[in-house]
C-alpha cells in the first residue's frame, strides 16, 4: 500500500511529513528545505515556478507571483474580508462567473484551488522523489475556523494536484495528534498557534468515539488573520532604521538593498534573543553618504524586543481569553497547552501563555513542523500503519549480565525496539576455570546487586585454560512479547546452556519509573563504585601478570628484581581490599613499572635479540589491559 502523506498547507509556508517505520518524519523539498514557501509564479520566460524559486523572483514579477492564496480559497469575491486582503496583494483578481475568485498569473485566470494545487503538486513531486515511490493519497490540514466551502475547495485543490485527499483535518487537531493526546481521554487542550502571518487559538476536547478511540473535538476557536511573527519583525526593522537614522541622518527604509539586510538582521536578532539576554546587530557598510560608508552597530536587549513585541503579545492573549470564554471550560480545566508556529519560541510569548493558563506550554515537537507531523500520523492511522499488530514495543529497562567485580554489563540498552537480539563474547576470570555463572540482571544501575535479578544459570564443561583464553558467547534475544531468552556457548566445545525469562512482565510502570529514578539519583555513587571495581580488577590483573612473568622467566630475572616485584605484589595485595582508590592505582602503577624491568632483563639474558616466545605472557603493559581475548570485559565470577 502506498504512503499517505500529511500536508500542512500554510498561508506563508507549507510542510509535509510521512510515517516511516512507524514514526512521522518531515520530508525535505527538492531544494533541501523542511518547509516550502506557499508561493507560485509564472516567470517572464513562461516557466511555472513554485516555492522558494518563485519567491526569489517576486520583485521582478509582482503581478505574476501569487502568495497568501490561502486567504482567498473557498471565498466569494464580494466578501468584505476578501476586498480588504485584495488591496494588500500586487496581483490582479476578478470575480468568477460563479461569484468566486480568480487571480491572474502569466495572462491566465486561475481559481485559488488551482493555485493551491500547484503548491500541492510540487510537494507531491518532491515527496515522490524523496520516497522513491508514487504518492497518490494525502491528509491536508486547514484552520479550525475554515467553513465547508473552504474545506471543499482545499480538497478540490488536492484533487487537481492528483491527490486523493483521504481527510481534511483541523490544524490544532493535527498538533494534538502529534503530541499523542488522542490517546488520553477527557483531556482538554489549548492550541496556541502564532505563525508568520496569522494567529489562531483553539480549545479542544478529547473524547471517546464509538470505536473506543480518542476523538478530538474543537470546542472553540478564534484568531486574527493579520497577526504574526512578520509584525514583530517589522517593528524590529523600524526600530533599527530609526536608531540608524538618529545616528547617521540617513533613512534606509526605502533602499531595497539596505532593507534586505535589515530584514535578515532583524530576524537573526529575534532568534538570538530567544536564548540570549542581549545581542549585537552588526551590519557593516549598510549604506554610504558623502563622508563614506556607514555601518550599523546596535546592541539589542531581550527587554527591548519584549517592549517592541508587547502589543502583539497582548493582542494574542486578549484573543486567547475570548476563545476560552467561548468554550465550555474554565482556564483551570485546561490540561495541556500546545505551542505551534516558529514565533512561539519567543520567551515573552511563552511566559504570557504560561501566566494565563497557569502551566508550562508544550513545545517538545518542533512548532514549525508539528502540524505536518500530526497530519502524517492521521495518514498513518487511515492507512492502517498504526495498527496493533505492527506496533513495536521497547524494553523499558536495560538487560545485562553480572561480570567480574559485580559489575552489571548491559547487553541490551533500555528503549531498544523489540524484537531484538545481541551477543557479546566474555571470558573466564581465573586460570583453569571450568564453569561460568550467567546472572541476568535488569536495570540502569552500575552494579548488578543494585539491579533486579531475573535469573541465573551455569555453563560448565569449559576445558581448563589460562584466564581470559576461553571464549564464552552470551546471546540475548527478546521477542515481540518481551520474553527474554539467554544463551551462553563455549566457542571451543560448542557446549551451551540457556534460560527463558518473561523479562519485563513482572514490573509495573511504577516499578520501572522507580528503578529509572534510582539510577539517576545514584549515578555519582555508582560511578565511584565502578571506578573502584575497575581499579581492583586492574590490580588483580597486575598481580596475576607479575606472578606469571616471574614463573615463566624463572632464572632469567635478577634476584633483587624478583624480591622487589614480590614486595610490590604484597603491597598491592594489601591495598587491594581497601577503599583507597588512589592508593590501589598507585600501587598498581608501581608494580607495572617494576614489571617492565623484567622484560629488559629477559632480553638481556637472551642476548638482547628476541621478543617473548609465542604463548608467553608479555610481562610489561599487561596489567593495564583486559585479559579476555576479543572481548570487552572479563567474565563472571569463577565457580
Amino acid at each position: 500500500m502506498a504512503k499517505i502523506i500529511g500536508i500542512d498547507l500554510g498561508t506563508t509556508n507549507s510542510a509535509m511529513a510521512v510515517m516511516q517505520g512507524g514514526e512521522p518524519v518531515i520530508l525535505e523539498n527538492a531544494e533541501g528545505a523542511r518547509t516550502t514557501p506557499s508561493v507560485v509564479a509564472t516567470s517572464k520566460t513562461g516557466e511555472r515556478l513554485v516555492g522558494l524559486i518563485a519567491r526569489r523572483q517576486a520583485v521582478t514579477n509582482p503581478k505574476n507571483t501569487i502568495y497568501q492564496i490561502k486567504r482567498f480559497i473557498g471565498h466569494t469575491f464580494d466578501e468584505p474580508a476578501v476586498q480588504k486582503d485584495k488591496a494588500a496583494v500586487p496581483y490582479e483578481m476578478q470575480k468568477a462567473k460563479n461569484g468566486g475568485i480568480e487571480v491572474s498569473m502569466g495572462g491566465t485566470w486561475y481559481t485559488p484551488e488551482a493555485i493551491s494545487a500547484m503548491i500541492l503538486g510540487k510537494l507531491k513531486a518532491d515527496a515522490e522523489k524523496r520516497l522513491g515511490e508514487p504518492v497518490t493519497e494525502a491528509v491536508i490540514t486547514v484552520p479550525a475556523y475554515f467553513n465547508d466551502s473552504q474545506r471543499q475547495a482545499t480538497k478540490d485543490a488536492g484533487k487537481i494536484a492528483g491527490l486523493d485527499v483521504k481527510r481534511i483535518i483541523n490544524e490544532p487537531t493535527a498538533a494534538a495528534l502529534a503530541y499523542g493526546f488522542n490517546k488520553k481521554k477527557d483531556e482538554k487542550i489549548a492550541v496556541f498557534d502564532f505563525g508568520g502571518g496569522t494567529f489562531d487559538i483553539s480549545v479542544l476536547e478529547v473524547g471517546m468515539s464509538t470505536e473506543g478511540e480518542g476523538a478530538i473535538e474543537v470546542k472553540s476557536t478564534d484568531g486574527d488573520a493579520h497577526l504574526g511573527g512578520k509584525d514583530i519583525d517589522q517593528k524590529i526593522i523600524d526600530w533599527l532604521a530609526t536608531e540608524f537614522q538618529k545616528e547617521s541622518g540617513i533613512d534606509v527604509r526605502n533602499d531595497p538593498l539596505a532593507r534586505q539586510r535589515l530584514d535578515e538582521a532583524a530576524e537573526k536578532a529575534k532568534i538570538e534573543l530567544s536564548t540570549a539576554m542581549e545581542t549585537e546587530v552588526n551590519i557593516p557598510f549598510l549604506t554610504s553618504d558623502a563622508s563614506g560608508p556607514r555601518h550599523l552597530l546596535i546592541k539589542m536587549s531581550r527587554a527591548k524586543l519584549e517592549e517592541l513585541a508587547g502589543e502583539f503579545v497582548e493582542r494574542a492573549m486578549a484573543i486567547t481569553k475570548r476563545a476560552m470564554e467561548a468554550s465550555p471550560f474554565k482556564v483551570g480545566d485546561i490540561n495541556e497547552v500546545i505551542l505551534v508556529g516558529g514565533q512561539t519560541r519567543m520567551p515573552a510569548l511563552q511566559a504570557a501563555v504560561e501566566k494565563y493558563f497557569g502551566k508550562k506550554a508544550n513545545m517538545s515537537v518542533n512548532p514549525d513542523e508539528v502540524v505536518a507531523i500530526g497530519a502524517a500520523i492521521q495518514g498513518g492511522i487511515l492507512g492502517g500503519e498504526v495498527k496493533d499488530v505492527l506496533l513495536l514495543d521497547v524494553i523499558p529497562l536495560s538487560l545485562g549480565i553480572e561480570t567480574m567485580g559485580g559489575v552489571a554489563t548491559k547487553l541490551i540498552e533500555r528503549n531498544t525496539t523489540i524484537p531484538t537480539s545481541r551477543s557479546q563474547v566474555f571470558s573466564t576470570a581465573a586460570d583453569n576455570q571450568t564453569s561460568v555463572e550467567i546472572h541476568i540482571t535488569q536495570g540502569e544501575r552500575a552494579m548488578a546487586s543494585d539491579n533486579k535479578s531475573l535469573g541465573r544459570f551455569v555453563l560448565d564443561g569449559i576445558p581448563p585454560a589460562p584466564r581470559g583464553l576461553p571464549q564464552i558467547e552470551v546471546s540475548f534475544d527478546v521477542d515481540a512479547n518481551g520474553i527474554l531468552s539467554v544463551k551462553a556457548k563455549d566457542k571451543a566445545t560448542n557446549k551451551e546452556q540457556s534460560i527463558r525469562i518473561e523479562a519485563s512482565s513482572g514490573l509495573s510502570d511504577q516499578d520501572i519509573e522507580r528503578m529509572r529514578k534510582d539510577a539517576e539519583a545514584n549515578a555519582t555513587s555508582d560511578k565511584q563504585k565502578m571506578e573502584m571495581v575497575e581499579a581492583r580488577n586492574l590490580a588483580e590483573q597486575a598481580v596475576y601478570g607479575a606472578r606469571k612473568a616471574l614463573a615463566d622467566n624463572k632464572g632469567k630475572v635478577p634476584a633483587e628484581l624478583e624480591t622487589s616485584i614480590n614486595e610490590k605484589i604484597t603491597a598491592l595485595e594489601g591495598k587491594k581490599g581497601s577503599d583507597d582508590i588512589a592508593a590501589i592505582k598507585a600501587a598498581t602503577e608501581e608494580l607495572s613499572k617494576e614489571l617492565s624491568k623484567v622484560y629488559e632483563a629477559v632480553q638481556k639474558a637472551a642476548g638482547g635479540q628476541s621478543a617473548p616466545q609465542d604463548g608467553q605472557t608479555p610481562p610489561a603493559g599487561d596489567a593495564g589491559s583486559q585479559s579476555a581475548p576479543g572481548d570487552t570485559s572479563p567474565n563472571p565470577e569463577a565457580k
Partner: protein, 176 residues
C-alpha cells in the same frame, strides 16, 4: 494450521457436514485475510527499513556538505563585508590598507573554495531564480539587457547542488 487442529469436529457438525465445511471455509478465509494483512505489514516494515538505510546513506553523504554549508553561513556575512568594502572605497587604489584588505579577502575566498564552496553571480548573466534572488529592478537602455543581472549586490554561494545563499541581484527592466 496443522491437520491436528482440524481433527475435532463437534457432534452437531459431524451430523451436518455442509455446515462444518462452511465453517471451515470461513475460518480459512479469515486466516488467509489475516495472513495477507500480516504479510503486507511485514513487507511494509521491511521496505521502510530498506528505505531508511538508503536515506541514512544519502544523509550521511550530505551531512558533510550541510555541515560545511552551515559553517559557510556564518562566514558569508564576512565575505559580504569585504565585497561592500570594495564597493564603498576604491580598493584598486594603491594604498597599504587596501592591499591588506584585498589579501585577507583572497585568503578567505580560497579557504572556502578549499571546502568545496563556490562563489557565483555575475553582472550580465540572465536572471535565473534557481540561483539568483531579485532585490530590485533597474531600468536599462537596451532591450538586450532586459531580465539580465545588472548588479550583484551580494554574491551567491553553493556546495555541490545545494544553494547556501542565492546571489542577491538587481535585474534589468527595459521600458520603451
Amino acid at each position: 494450521m496443522s491437520d491436528l487442529d482440524e481433527e475435532f469436529i463437534p457432534e452437531e457438525d459431524a451430523e451436518n457436514p455442509t455446515g462444518a465445511i462452511k465453517k471451515l471455509r470461513e475460518r480459512l478465509r479469515n486466516a488467509e485475510k489475516e495472513a495477507q494483512t500480516n504479510l503486507e505489514g511485514w513487507q511494509r516494515t521491511k521496505a521502510d527499513y530498506v528505505n531508511l538505510k538508503r536515506d541514512e546513506e544519502t544523509r550521511r553523504m550530505h551531512t558533510e556538505e550541510r555541515l560545511k554549508a552551515s559553517i559557510a553561513e556564518d562566514l558569508i556575512p564576512v565575505l559580504d563585508s569585504f565585497e561592500m568594502s570594495a564597493k564603498h572605497s576604491d580598493l584598486s587604489a594603491d594604498k597599504a590598507g587596501n592591499k591588506d584588505l584585498q589579501a585577507l579577502h583572497k585568503q578567505l575566498l580560497s579557504a572556502i573554495k578549499n571546502m568545496g564552496i563556490e562563489q557565483f553571480g555575475k553582472a550580465g548573466e540572465m536572471f535565473d531564480p534557481h540561483k539568483h534572488e531579485a532585490l530590485r529592478e533597474i531600468s536599462v537602455e537596451t532591450p538586450e539587457d532586459e531580465h539580465k543581472v545588472v548588479t550583484v549586490e551580494r554574491s551567491g554561494y553553493s556546495i555541490g547542488n545545494y544553494i547556501i545563499r542565492p546571489a542577491q541581484v538587481s535585474v534589468g527592466t527595459y521600458n520603451k
